[in-house]
Each structure stands twice: as structure tokens, then as C-alpha cells.
């Protein structure tokens, strides 16, 4: 861990940062003094066994949970007391572990929702949303980027599991995100879909750095610039892929035979 500083990129202002956040549910300490940051152009993966507190961490970063102590910073601003929607408008994109999409609506309508949100102007009561050229173009562009352009008119409920994950990413992209938080984007995807998405995220990091919570170790090791390991609500190590692979504590706590 000592030589991590040498290999890390030149310190810049982190896009996203937690400073010593803690959160308890009764006796359960789900987050213990967690400080992690996301720098421009990187993919920072957070790994950890089930129940390590990854979802709690994400919830605090995105604003659905308020930390008991510590602060969350987005683009240098303290956003600890700022609601989810304001963080989203400031450029924090998020994808969910379990797809949270409007299932009865079409794929295009879901993408349009993101465009409406980022423009901050859903307060128009007339005029067809689907016929607004500017809005629609942005939505279609996002769908095209994740390869869902041919499914645009399909009902979201009819999409395969993997396609729903792609749509999650597309909706996040419509926000023109400054930072992305992705909760297990590969979960339940086939090998083929997982590879495609890995390639896509690889290119995406230059546009918006990604805080990636993922179980798929192949994806994590091939994508991540840095990895933080969360165990029992505590970050036990942060470093490059090689450092984490070599870290004895991590091997013991989590990686076991996989590393």
C-alpha cells in the first residue's frame, strides 16, 4: 500500500468524494468512516462480499440515505444535505442493481424521461413529448450509444434482462453526467453482453468517471484504474488492480482462491 501514491495519477480535484462517512442501522455499522474519491477519467471499482455495505455506500453518495457523520462532495461542492434530484441535475448519473424503469412505457419514453429531467423542464402540459425533435434526438442518441436503437419502440417490459441494463446506462447518459455511479451493471448479463458493456464502459470513463460496484471480477480487473475493497462497512484497501491482487488482507477477507 505504501507505494500506491507513486502510481496514482496526478492528484486533481475529485469529481466525487466521500469524507469519512458513517452510517449505522441500530447496532449494525453499515458504513464506517469511508473516504473514497473518484477522479476525472478513471473507473474506481468498489468490491466487497455480500453485506459489506456497498448498497448503503451508494445510497449515501446518491442521496437516498443521509450519513450519520462525514460528508459527500460532488464537483467540489458539499452535497451531503442536497436531495437526490438536485445531485442528479448537477450531473450525478446512476444505474440500479435492480432495474428501476417505467416498464409499461417504451424504451424511447424511458430515455426521454432522462432528457426531460436533465433539461429540468417537465412542466409542459401540451405538445407531444415524442414529437419534440430536440428532446427526441438526444434520447435516440443515448439509445444508439448503448445499441438499443432498434428496440426504441418496444415496451420496456419486453426487453431482455441485459437490454434493461443497457437502457439503465442509456438513461444515465441522457443526463450528460459528470460522474456515474453504477450498481452491478453486469449482474445477470450473459458473457456476450457483459463483454460488450465492458468495452463500452472502458471508453466511457473519459467522458464521465465511473464509480463501479460490481461482482463480476473479470470485468472489475479488466476495467478498474483503482479498486477499493469494502469489508464490514470499512474500506480495508484502495489501490491499483495489481496492488489489490497482491494485498494479503484483501486475499484473506474477500478474494480467497479467485485471485
Amino acid at each position: 500500500m505504501t507505494d500506491a501514491v507513486v502510481q496514482a495519477p496526478v492528484p486533481e480535484i475529485p469529481v466525487l468524494e466521500t469524507r469519512g462517512i458513517s452510517k449505522s442501522f441500530g447496532a449494525l455499522r453499515a458504513s464506517r468512516n469511508i473516504s473514497i474519491d473518484l477522479r476525472p477519467g478513471e473507473i474506481h471499482a468498489v468490491i466487497g462480499p455480500n453485506g459489506a455495505g456497498k448498497s448503503t455506500l451508494i445510497a449515501q453518495i446518491c442521496g437516498t440515505l443521509k450519513p450519520d457523520a462525514g460528508s459527500v462532495h460532488l464537483l467540489g461542492q458539499d452535497v451531503t444535505d442536497v436531495p437526490t434530484r438536485t445531485r442528479a441535475r448537477a450531473g450525478l448519473g446512476r444505474t440500479f442493481q435492480i432495474s428501476a424503469l417505467a416498464m409499461e412505457d417504451t424504451v424511447l419514453q424511458n430515455a426521454l424521461l432522462g432528457v426531460l429531467g436533465s433539461s429540468g423542464k417537465p412542466w409542459r402540459f401540451f405538445g407531444n413529448a415524442l414529437k419534440d425533435g430536440a428532446l427526441r434526438a438526444r434520447a435516440e442518441q443515448a439509445l444508439e450509444r448503448v445499441g438499443l436503437q432498434d428496440q426504441a419502440r418496444m415496451r420496456t417490459a419486453e426487453l431482455s434482462h441485459g437490454q434493461r441494463r443497457q437502457l439503465e446506462v442509456a438513461v444515465a447518459l441522457t443526463l450528460d453526467p459528470k460522474a456515474l455511479v453504477m450498481d452491478e451493471p453486469m449482474a445477470g448479463m450473459g458473457a456476450e453482453g457483459s463483454r460488450t458493456l465492458t468495452g463500452f464502459l472502458d471508453a466511457l470513463r473519459q467522458e464521465a468517471p465511473i464509480l463501479l460496484v460490481e461482482h463480476d471480477m473479470d470485468a472489475v480487473f479488466s476495467l478498474a484504474d483503482r479498486i477499493s475493497v469494502l469489508v464490514y462497512g470499512e474500506v480495508i484497501a484502495t489501490g491499483t488492480v495489481d496492488e489489490i491482487r497482491a494485498n494479503a488482507a484483501v486475499r484473506e477477507a474477500y478474494l480467497g482462491d479467485e485471485a
Binding site: C62, P83, R85, M103, T106, L113, N128, L130
Partner: protein
């Protein structure tokens, strides 16, 4: 399965043809029944915005229906007794002009919907239903005890209010006015559903977390929907009072809320013409079955049971199947 637009067109045709036939055949009571159906349909189109688009199961829409009714009753009462509604700080006099009464009905019910919405949207699910029901009961008992405006007995208005250029006492002219307003309200609901706001509201019903993560406030979207919904139901209340030339606390009762909801569920929740079909079928059943037995609600209940169990999209869902994908 028949395309939904054919069913919608057929419904519109029925709304025009039946009263014209009744006029020709000298069946004035049929025109009155159709007027009743058209007014119920307006109330239900209002509820459908909250229920169908916003997913808000409001069991308190009688509040807005009743407020619309009392807006009419109170204004017309002061006009027919030549007394002022208030003399200080500003002089407000009664009126017999429908457009003014409608405006008052819409304003009062929007304001009530705003307050009730702000308080009840802090909850969801069963609690939302109970809170809206509780507000309904509050208004009901307030109206009963408001002796100045008839209390339990309600208010009778002797002459139907006026609309410029029309003789509103003529049945078919008053029907035409109600049908015209129904069409306006339907166009509004149709445009709303396809608008950016409608899209966001639709998503707020299905996936509020998603709406929040793209930077929108789902509660605020639902609140606006609730206000629009209440305003339209309030307009229907003013018309209903004018149809009967009578207002009573019954308009505020929870049975009224239930009936408005039945129109929507019977026809099809979230379907543009669902409330219209529901109101027409309800009034027809009320007339025919009501003529056979005082306990006609048993058969209505049975019909509702069948529709809810076997056709989740109401009558329109049974005839047309799932809603088509729009693009």
C-alpha cells in the same frame, strides 16, 4: 380485438346520436340521463388524471365535486335572494352566469386539491386512500352543519343559470353545453398524457426512484396532477348542481367518491375514454336496473367484480386489449 380509436369514435357518436334521437322521438328524460352521464364523465376524466396517470387512488374526489356544486349553489343562492356573498373587505355578489360560476368552481377546487394534495402526498398506498377519504368526510360534515346554506337540506336554485347565447333550460342546449365541455376536457387529458409532463408523471407512477434519479421530483409531479384532476372534477360538480338545480351535502359523501372511481374502473383506468364509457354504462344500469329493483347495486357490484377479475383494463381493456404503444 377492436382498435381503441374505433371504440372512442363509437362512444362519441353515441354521445351525439342518442340525445338527437331522443329529441326527435320526444323522450326528454333520455336527454336528462345523457346529460347526467356526460357530467359524470367529466368528473371521471378528472379523477383519471390522478388515478390513471399519477397512480393516486383518491377516495376523496367528492370534495372537489361537492365544492364545484356549492360554488354554484352559493353564488346562485345569493343572486336569487339579492344578497351579497360578502360586503367586506370587498363586495362579492352572487351570479347566475355559468362561465363565472365555472371559474369559481375550478378555482376553489384547485385550491382545495392543492392543500389536500400537499398533506396527503406525504403518504402513499392505503394511507393515501384513507387520508383522502378523511378529507371527504370532513367536507361532508361541514356541509351538513353549515346552516347558512341549507345544512342537511341543501340549497335549491329555482332557475338554471345562464350561458350567453343559449337557453339553458332547454334540455338539448344544456346537454350540448355539457358535451362541449366534456370534449374540451377530453382534449386536455389527451394532450396532457402525451406531453412532457404526462410522460414524467407516467414514469413517476411506475418508477418514482427513477424519476428522482433523473433530477425530477415525483411528489411535485403528482401534486400538479392532483390539482388538475381536482379542478376538472370541480367543474363537473358545478354542472351537476345546475342539472339538478339543487345542491346538497350528498355531493360530498364518500359514496360520491366511490361512484366517480367506479366510472373510471368500469371503463378502464388510464384509458382516455375509459371514464366516458364507464359513466355511460353506469347511468344506463342505474336507469334500467334501478327500474327493476331497488337493490340494483348488487348487479352493478357483480359487473364490477367480473370486470376487475377478468379484464384489468376495464370495459375498454376487454374490448381493445392492451393499450397500443405510441410513437
Amino acid at each position: 380485438m377492436i382498435p381503441e380509436r374505433y371504440v372512442n369514435a363509437a362512444t362519441l357518436l353515441a354521445l351525439v346520436a342518442i340525445p338527437l334521437w331522443a329529441l326527435a322521438a320526444d323522450e326528454p328524460f333520455t336527454i336528462t340521463l345523457m346529460t347526467r352521464a356526460a357530467i359524470f364523465a367529466i368528473a371521471a376524466v378528472g379523477l383519471n388524471i390522478a388515478l390513471g396517470l399519477g397512480g393516486l387512488v383518491s377516495l376523496g374526489h367528492a370534495v372537489f365535486f361537492g365544492l364545484g356544486g356549492y360554488a354554484m349553489g352559493i353564488l346562485a343562492h345569493h343572486a336569487q335572494t339579492y344578497t351579497a356573498l360578502s360586503e367586506w373587505p370587498v363586495l362579492i355578489e352572487g351570479t347566475k352566469s355559468m362561465p363565472v360560476i365555472w371559474l369559481a368552481a375550478v378555482l376553489v377546487s384547485s385550491l382545495a386539491a392543492l392543500v389536500i394534495g400537499i398533506l396527503s402526498l406525504r403518504t402513499a398506498g392505503v394511507y393515501f386512500i384513507m387520508i383522502t377519504l378523511a378529507f371527504g368526510q370532513m367536507f361532508f360534515f361541514f356541509a351538513i352543519s353549515w346552516a347558512e346554506y341549507g345544512g342537511e337540506d341543501g340549497l335549491s336554485i329555482y332557475v338554471r343559470n345562464s350561458f350567453p347565447g343559449l337557453n339553458t333550460l332547454d334540455l338539448i342546449q344544456f346537454y350540448g353545453l355539457c358535451l362541449g365541455l366534456l370534449c374540451v376536457v377530453l382534449v386536455f387529458a389527451w394532450r396532457l398524457a402525451g406531453s412532457p409532463f404526462g410522460l414524467a408523471l407516467n414514469a413517476a407512477r411506475q418508477a418514482p426512484v427513477r424519476v428522482e434519479t433523473v433530477g425530477l421530483d415525483p411528489v411535485r409531479l403528482k401534486l400538479v396532477a392532483f390539482v388538475l384532476s381536482g379542478a376538472i372534477t370541480g367543474l363537473a360538480g358545478a354542472l351537476f348542481a345546475d342539472l339538478n338545480r339543487f345542491v346538497s351535502p350528498t355531493m360530498f359523501s364518500w359514496q360520491t367518491s366511490g361512484e366517480i372511481m367506479i366510472f373510471v374502473i368500469l371503463g378502464g383506468v388510464g384509458r382516455l375514454f375509459g371514464p366516458v364509457v364507464g359513466a355511460l354504462v353506469f347511468v344506463a344500469l342505474e336507469h334500467w336496473l334501478g327500474g327493476l329493483s331497488d337493490f340494483w347495486h348488487i348487479w352493478l357490484g357483480l359487473l364490477l367484480l367480473v370486470i376487475v377479475l377478468f379484464g384489468r383494463g376495464g370495459l375498454i381493456g376487454m374490448i381493445c386489449g392492451r393499450e397500443a404503444v405510441h410513437d
